[in-house]
């Protein structure tokens, strides 16, 4: 079956990517050597991945991608990354009580362990941050395995394809098409004539922010202001803040660290939700481009307003008095810090927490859920619908209302003074509706599927599970709160959520386009 796509080309190029993914396993290998644990796990994993890469590459040694092959390649690349990500988990956890390690006791245990590992890996690469890890601690898992979990998010943040374009010449040839399919947001912004240079610039900015961030965190530790933020923790959080990931090697996330650390994390989470192309302009001295950008303004405004409202709610007692993050009622600093942290974390889909917001009252929870719908900016590492889409949807709706009263008026939709193409508006409308439909239908499925195995979800749990996975956010409410786990879901639900994370990261269109062209056979 041809599917109207030259799948061999896509798969062949995939082999190249897999081959290079093996190199990234060096990072956890170094950690394994440093701590003297799980060294063989990563050596074997590297061998398997490299072998797999060389084998798959032989399907088509000289791949030539058209638009449809590019879509297929991007879709497959993310599945392949997720599958490869499971290898260290499965090997390291074999024969232990790890929930993501390979279990061979029974067929049920085997499939469940596979589903769990895939869930954790997909959640990592798509920077979702939802976890099925039963117990997050260095007692249960080695430092190296936890670091690999963090690293998957860092690799997925700016995009594994963007990284490939930046460093692999054979991918750069069709780079623009590939990047278009992967980049968050409605359109690709080319910063330089050569796409590989654009990809490199974006990765360099991303890398630069990460390095500065790790240095600040570790600096605080050395200065004695963050006793628990040792080098391992600093790097681990450095890997998951800028990609808006949310994984933490600590069971109680950033709540485990001092208030100073929390204040430092907030601005970096906010930075992660900004279009990275804007930083490129700022570095070139064009600060105006950023300040005048409509999406940036809307993002800053949304963060400020929602944070202010939440801070007031917390100050007036929206959180239970005895809580992990400390009391907030009547405590201005803590109210503001908790509000700013949770909003910076959830609005752009990071998923860290400094308080168990699943315990907050309904007002505060619905506000957080509202923030989850907003999403980061186009071209950022954040998930969700993206601010620019909401802006355009809002403007298009306002135009509809105006033109229904004045049917003859021609009114283009403008953003930052530029006219938005009508085709782009149609695409954005379709995306937004598709996103909402997938979110709604999945929430229903998750609820029914859970009660099939005798687990009754609350409405907030089922909707937040759906929203947190398609929006690549991570934590939800109820049992899925920031310190909870997705472990209790049946395998079928986990598969659906793996799918949601996948389509959410690739923004639905590439994935569905591959399906549609397969079904049409053209």
């Amino acid at each position: 079956m041809s599917w109207g796509v030259n799948w061999k080309a896509s798969v062949g190029l995939l082999g190249v990517g897999i081959k290079y993914l093996a190199v990234t396993l060096l990072v956890p290998l170094v950690v394994a050597l440093a701590y003297g644990k799980d060294i063989w796990v990563f050596l074997v994993s590297m061998a398997i991945v490299a072998g797999l890469g060389f084998a798959v590459e032989r399907v088509d040694p000289d791949p030539d991608l058209g638009p449809r092959e590019a879509l297929l390649f991007v879709s497959l690349a993310w599945i392949a990354a997720a599958v490869i990500g499971t290898i260290p988990y499965l090997i390291a956890g074999y024969g232990t009580a790890s929930t993501i390690g390979l279990q061979t006791g029974s067929v049920g245990a085997f499939t469940e362990s596979i589903a769990n590992a895939l869930f954790e890996s997909m959640s990592g690469f798509t920077t979702t941050g939802a976890t099925v890890l039963g117990e997050i601690s260095t007692d249960r898992h080695s430092h190296a395995v936890l670091m690999w979990r963090q690293l998957t998010q860092w690799l997925g943040g700016m995009g594994i394809i963007v990284l490939m374009i930046a460093i692999l010449p054979e991918v750069a040839v069709n780079g623009a098409q590939l990047m278009e399919s992967e980049a968050p947001g409605p359109e690709l912004q080319k910063l330089t004539p050569k796409i590989a240079e654009t990809a490199r610039a974006l990765w360099l900015i991303y890398f630069g922010f990460t390095v500065v961030y790790i240095a600040i965190l570790y600096g605080l530790h050395l200065a004695g202001m963050a006793p628990k933020m040792n080098l391992f923790n600093a790097i681990a959080h450095g890997f998951t803040t800028l990609p808006t990931g949310g994984f933490s090697p600590k069971a109680d996330s950033v709540a485990a660290f001092s208030a100073v650390v929390q204040w430092v994390v907030i601005p970096f989470m906010l930075v992660a939700g900004v279009n990275f192309a804007l930083f490129w302009h700022v570095l070139r001295g064009e600060v105006e481009t950023m300040v005048k950008n409509a999406e940036f303004r809307a993002y800053a405004g949304a963060v400020a307003v929602v944070t202010a409202v939440l801070a007031v709610l917390l100050f007036r007692g929206a959180a239970p008095p005895i809580e992990l993050g400390g009391a907030t009622q009547g405590v201005a600093e803590n109210s503001l810090r908790q509000a700013a942290f949770q909003i910076a974390s959830l609005l752009n889909s990071t998923g860290y927490a400094t308080a168990d917001f699943a315990q907050w009252n309904a007002d505060a929870q619905i506000l957080l859920m509202f923030a989850m719908f907003i999403g980061g900016s186009a071209g950022s590492t954040g998930g969700g619908v993206k601010i620019v889409r909401w802006l355009i949807v809002g403007k298009a709706i306002r135009r509809e209302l105006f033109t229904s009263a004045h049917p003859d008026v021609v009114r283009p939709v403008r953003l930052s003074g530029n006219v938005v193409d009508e085709d782009a508006i149609r695409g954005i409308m379709a995306f937004t509706i598709l996103y909402l439909v997938l979110f709604g239908v999945s929430a229903v499925f998750l609820s029914l599927d859970a009660s099939r195995i005798g687990v009754q979800l609350t409405m907030l749990e089922s909707t937040s599970a759906s929203l947190a996975t398609i929006g690549n956010i991570g934590p939800g409410f109820g049992r899925l709160g920031p310190f909870g786990s997705y472990l209790f879901f049946p395998d079928t639900s986990k598969l659906l959520m793996i799918f949601l994370m996948w389509v959410g990261r690739l923004e639905i269109v590439p994935v569905l386009a591959v399906f549609i062209s397969a079904v049409d056979g053209r």
């Binding site: 003859d408 008026v409 021609v410 009114r411």
Partner: protein, 445 residues
């Protein structure tokens, strides 16, 4: 002067006609019949052929021409003709263009395309329309220094807020100068303490924006403000430029265009204009959108017949002022006779602009006021002339000529003249001079 005119359309013909009496004129046109016909109509030499080819240009002796005027209907032809003429000789080249893009390129680097002076027909017409719209109270308005400076003459009417004030009280605008005051037909040079009384005619020189604001001051009733409804009918280049210039002056016009693609283009390029896509001759549509309540309607459709129809329709619906673009010069009087307030002909406007350049005078631009009592002149100062190197107050003290400097432009920037301003070579000076002193001033420049 030896002048070569390329293109014998309406602009070219009227240029040739006005120049033929005093100058040697050669007209080149691609159409042999047209060339043949013109030979008998005007006292000029005609050559049939492609005005851009060097062969034809050599035949027209372009190499010894003092001036080459390219005014065919096609922008590119005119630019190429000027460029070709520059390779043959060093005559002053004038090109007529429609596209404002070419004008912008040329303004960015003068001499581009081998063009020494560029006249943009549609922009010129639109500027005219906007002047008429913006300054209905003015008796006379003239642009200077390529539109950077405006001269306007107003009559101080009964009930004008300015009446009874002194000149320094009335002139509260940074870039505006009172240059002359006519009372009972007698001109006086205004000083700060001169009183303004009802019936006076004031002549001011300044930036177009300040002149507009001043008009609002002295005639608030007649001068439109941003609350006034202006409807432009027809999204032709003139219609587009008119709307664009109105936007620049803080108006929010409405524009009606029939063609969907053009309407879309207009809407994208005119952020502050409400663009409507509909047939403007549909009266039901006009009344539904309350066009009848508009204060000003400008018709800028492609054909005179349609403009006439819309103008009459607008007048019948009760629009206060209707301004029509009329393509054929013969119809201008017809339009005005049937009650259209103002009819503007783009070709006349263009020909007038080009004609200004053919004056053999130090003054680039002249407006004559009140039965020749005074003139407003634009002078380009040359190195070592009698006006440079000294503060203006010294020039005024030493000279017995009666004049007022209204505005200065330096490198395309407006400079407001003060007593201590020192004039430089290359400055364009716009000044009002009493007729008796014109010769004296001209000899100093």
């Amino acid at each position: 002067m030896y002048v070569v005119v390329i293109g014998a359309g309406e602009v070219g013909t009227s240029m040739a006609a006005s120049l033929a009496s005093d100058h040697e004129v050669v007209v080149v046109d691609v159409d042999p019949d047209r060339a043949e016909q013109l030979k008998y109509e005007l006292d000029v030499l005609t050559i049939a052929g492609d005005g851009t080819s060097s062969e034809i240009q050599s035949a027209a002796d372009v190499d010894r021409a003092d001036m080459v005027i390219a005014c065919t209907d096609d922008d590119q032809t005119n630019l190429v003709a000027c460029g070709a003429a520059k390779t043959l000789g060093d005559g002053f080249t004038i090109a007529r263009v429609k596209s404002t893009e070419f004008l912008r390129t040329w303004q960015g680097s003068e001499g581009a395309f081998g063009v020494d002076f560029m006249v943009c027909t549609d922009l010129l017409t639109a500027e005219n329309i906007v002047r008429v719209i913006g300054l209905p109270a003015a008796i006379d308005v003239d642009p200077f220094a390529g539109g950077l400076v405006q001269m306007a003459e107003f009559e101080i009417g009964e009930g004008s807020p300015v009446a009874g004030q002194t000149v320094s009280e009335a002139d509260r605008f940074e870039s505006l100068t009172f240059v002359g005051l006519f009372r009972d037909g007698e001109m006086t040079i205004p000083r700060g303490d001169t009183d303004i009384v009802v019936g006076d005619r004031a002549v001011v020189v300044g930036s177009p924006e300040s002149v507009q604001s001043f008009a609002t001051d002295i005639a608030p009733e007649a001068t439109p403000d941003d609350a006034d409804e202006i409807v432009v009918v027809g999204g032709s280049e003139i219609g587009y430029q008119t709307a664009r210039l109105l936007e620049e002056r803080d108006f929010t016009p409405r524009l009606i265009e029939r063609d969907a693609d053009r309407a879309r283009w207009l809407a994208e390029n005119l952020p502050d204009t409400v663009v409507m896509e509909h047939d403007p001759t549909d009266t039901e549509f006009l009344s539904r959108e309350h066009v009848d309540e508009a204060d000003i309607v400008v018709t800028a459709l492609g054909s005179d017949e349609k403009n006439l129809l819309i103008s009459v329709l607008a007048k019948r619906l009760g629009v206060d002022r209707v301004i029509a673009v009329v393509d054929s010069p013969d119809y201008v009087t017809v339009f005005e006779e049937i009650g259209i307030d103002i009819a503007i002909n783009p070709r006349t406007v263009t020909a007038a602009e080009i004609t200004r350049f053919t004056y053999e005078s130090v003054a680039e631009n002249i407006a004559v006021l009140e039965n020749d009592q005074a003139e407003v002149l634009e002078l380009e100062l040359t190195e070592g002339c009698g006006l440079t190197g000294r503060p203006i107050s010294d020039i005024v003290a030493e000279s017995d000529a009666r004049f007022v400097i209204g505005a200065i432009t330096r490198n395309h920037q407006l400079v407001t003249p003060r007593g201590d301003t020192v004039l430089q070579a290359g400055d364009h000076v716009i000044l009002l001079v009493e007729s008796d002193s014109v010769g004296q001033i001209a000899s100093m420049a």
